[in-house]
């Protein structure tokens, strides 16, 4: 039994470490700012970071698939989805048309980028950087200024609180649930579907995966399409939480998301990691951002610098542990 526990700890070391770091960070924050001891602050993490969680789930898959896989377009897709849906709603299109349309658009954009990466052999960061600029540019073409959303359905979804049972006055919004639902779907896909196992296989060694007869090209396109789906959902959630659409939304989200994924223990080289780690990565990121915000004297730009430092630390820890593992 002890042996088993040991094995479990060794196998899930990075995940447990991330979890421990989250507890530590939250504990320190709660000591500094007693407000954080309220349960609502914890649920606010999910509310505020629901879009980040969504894009990070997609990002995890892309990074897991290896070969320098990365999706820099996530912030742009959020901006485009929010602006496009706001503009469509303003001109009176039914939200029941807008929502599926946005999802289709996100998937199509992702699939297109994946296709370009797979078949035209363009480096992922170039292709998705183009995606970022393209989507932001398109958002500006739709509207140069912020577009507010007045649609009743959107407002209703956005503003109806769901109270957490057995907890007084702690609530979340329906949009908050999208992230956790996608998380469950991603867990299923990554652990129990052929698609997910192929992602791990190609992330470890794309050549081997090809020689094993796995559908590597198709999987790669699908991975980016899935990331596009996550970004589109994030865009919808984003526009609902702010009830607006704007081309400048979610600037720098790509780094926030990469940081969360890396903090969550996923290797930038691919093949190692999982989405549960990413969830804690997002929560750590959110906690640190809220601590920075609770400290009123720190201005908003410190968040950006903070995220940069955080990414660096995460990458640093990762490279040290992987080097160690290689040598043992």
């Amino acid at each position: 039994m002890v042996q088993r526990i040991k094995l479990y700890i060794v196998q899930n070391g990075p995940l447990l470490l991330t979890f421990a770091v989250f507890l530590l960070v939250y504990f320190v924050g709660a000591q500094m700012y007693p407000v954080m001891q309220k349960p609502q602050v914890f649920f606010n993490l999910f509310i505020n970071d629901s879009s980040l969680l969504l894009v990070s789930i997609g990002m995890t898959m892309v990074i897991l698939s290896g070969g320098g896989g990365i999706d820099l377009s996530v912030g742009g897709v959020i901006a485009l989805v929010s602006t496009a849906s706001a503009a469509m709603l303003r001109s009176g299109v039914s939200p029941y048309v807008v929502l599926p349309l946005m999802i289709v658009m996100g998937v199509a954009l992702g699939a297109l980028m994946g296709w370009i990466i797979q078949y035209l052999k363009v480096q992922p960061f170039i292709a998705t950087l183009m995606g970022l600029y393209f989507t932001r540019g398109m958002a500006y073409i739709i509207s140069l200024t912020s577009v507010t959303i007045k649609d009743a359905v959107y407002k209703k979804i956005a503003l109806t609180p769901i109270y957490i049972p057995f907890m007084e006055k702690a609530y979340i919004y329906p949009t908050t649930l999208v992230g956790p639902i996608m998380l469950l779907i991603a867990i299923y896909l990554l652990s129990f579907s052929r698609f997910g196992r192929t992602i791990y296989a190609m992330g470890n060694n794309e050549q081997s995966a090809l020689l094993m007869g796995l559908a590597v090209p198709r999987t790669k396109v699908l991975v980016y399409a899935f990331s596009g789906l996550c970004s589109a959902l994030a865009g919808i959630v984003f526009s609902m939480s702010l009830l607006a659409g704007y081309g400048q939304f979610a600037t720098g989200m790509e780094l926030d998301s990469i940081a969360s994924v890396v903090i969550g223990g996923t290797s930038l080289a691919g093949g190692v990691g999982n989405v549960i780690g990413t969830l804690f990565g997002v929560l750590i990121h959110g906690t640190i951002v809220s601590i920075l915000q609770f400290n009123g004297t720190l201005s908003s730009w410190w968040t950006r610098i903070g995220v940069g430092v955080l990414t660096l630390i995460a990458i640093g820890i990762q490279s040290v542990t992987y080097i160690k593992r290689k040598h043992s």
Binding site: L120, L129, L132, Y133, G137, Y140, W301, I305, V309, S319
Partner: protein, 363 residues
């Protein structure tokens, strides 16, 4: 036969495709809007009489991009990428304007102080501080890539995002406006009727060219970009070569930021140099340097940058809004990268010639 090989030499030259693209854009202007080429002499009491027109604008406003492309060429030639150039421009611009601000260090800030054409910091010190900031950014990127072995894309992404935070930190989150004519000279002044920025670009080009082509550094950069491992095995310290490329890129970004802030009389940490990384990558790729590294030509990248700026000025002169251009440019980058890919290259050779030996172009 000889003529044939001459034609082929022209077509194989790195300059052929960017020059061709430039020619097409100019031709388009000549047909659609002949006034594009109008050059006139503008009397100017502040900076002296000078030439005026779209063509001058291309070089004057395009100077920051050209400078950044020079640095980016070296970085891409090592097989890397620098996504932080836009942020470096913002940091340098913030640095310059904050130091110029006559209210610097004073507690009582009156409007009279801010609008006075004066500064408490000597101009050479401002320039040095800018260059130092750029060097530091370059060192940071270079050390992360060469010593910490972080992928260039991720390493420079950190500064791309955090750098804008740093720029805002420097200016205290405000958009800094300045009024100090000696500083404005860099972006608005003229020498012999031509903008000062053209001379700065020429100077930087000559210095960098001398640095890479009259020493072994250029060869080492190409060697690192082609095969870093072989380069190391040959006794070359490939880490320092890479580091140097990022430092040069950082310095180029700083000079670009200086010209930029001088030109617009202000610094905005959020928006200065936005999307410059995209344009610079495009310029370098158009100049025939492969994204995977190896052979490079600084001059070809400069032509690439000029083409992009001509394109930009043309589109603006047609009345297309700036942000719409962004989407168009993204598509353009992709098309250009595809045109320069191995796949397209093979296709071209199949179209143009039979099996034959392919002669590399060294410059």
């Amino acid at each position: 036969m000889k003529q044939m090989s001459f034609l082929r030499r022209i077509r194989d030259s790195r300059l052929f495709w960017p020059l061709m693209a430039w020619f097409i854009i100019l031709l388009f202007n000549a047909i659609v809007k002949p006034s594009f080429f109008k050059l006139s002499i503008m009397p100017d009491p502040v900076y002296g009489n000078h030439l005026y027109g779209n063509l001058i604008d291309i070089f004057n406003n395009g100077a920051p991009l050209i400078l950044v492309s020079i640095g980016m060429t070296l970085v891409i030639a090592t097989g890397g990428i620098d996504l932080s150039v836009g942020a470096v421009i913002a940091i340098s611009a913030a640095m310059g304007t904050v130091l110029i601000n006559p209210a610097l260090g004073q507690k009582l800030i009156s409007n009279e102080i801010l609008t006075r054409n004066a500064t408490n910091t000597p101009l050479p010190l401002i320039i040095l501080a800018d260059l130092a900031a750029g060097t530091l950014c370059g060192l940071w990127n270079g050390l992360l890539v060469s010593r910490a072995r972080i992928q260039p894309m991720v390493a420079t992404l950190i500064l791309m995002v955090a750098g804008r935070g740093i720029a805002q930190l420097i200016t205290g989150g405000q958009i800094m406006t300045i009024y100090y004519t000696p500083y404005f000279w860099f972006g608005n002044g003229y020498i012999l009727g031509l903008p000062v920025s053209i001379y700065i670009v020429a100077l930087v080009f000559i210095l960098v060219w001398l640095l890479v082509r009259k020493t072994a550094i250029g060869l080492f950069i190409e060697s690192v970009g082609t095969n870093a491992r072989s380069t190391y095995y040959s006794g070359i310290n490939e880490q320092n070569v890479t580091l140097l490329a990022y430092v040069v890129c950082g310095i180029c970004g700083a000079i670009a930021g200086l010209i930029f802030s001088s030109y617009v009389h202000s610094a905005d940490g959020n928006n200065n140099g936005m999307y410059y990384e995209l344009d610079a990558i495009l310029a370098v790729v158009m100049g025939g340097t492969l994204m995977t590294g190896g052979r490079f030509s600084i001059f070809a990248s400069i032509i690439g940058a000029v083409v992009i700026w001509t394109f930009t000025v043309t589109v603006y002169s047609l009345g297309v809004p700036a942000n719409a251009l962004l989407a168009a440019k993204a598509v353009l980058v992709l098309v250009v990268i595809l045109l320069y890919s191995d796949f397209a290259r093979r296709l071209r050779y199949q179209l143009f010639e039979r099996r034959g030996s392919h002669h590399g172009t060294a410059n």
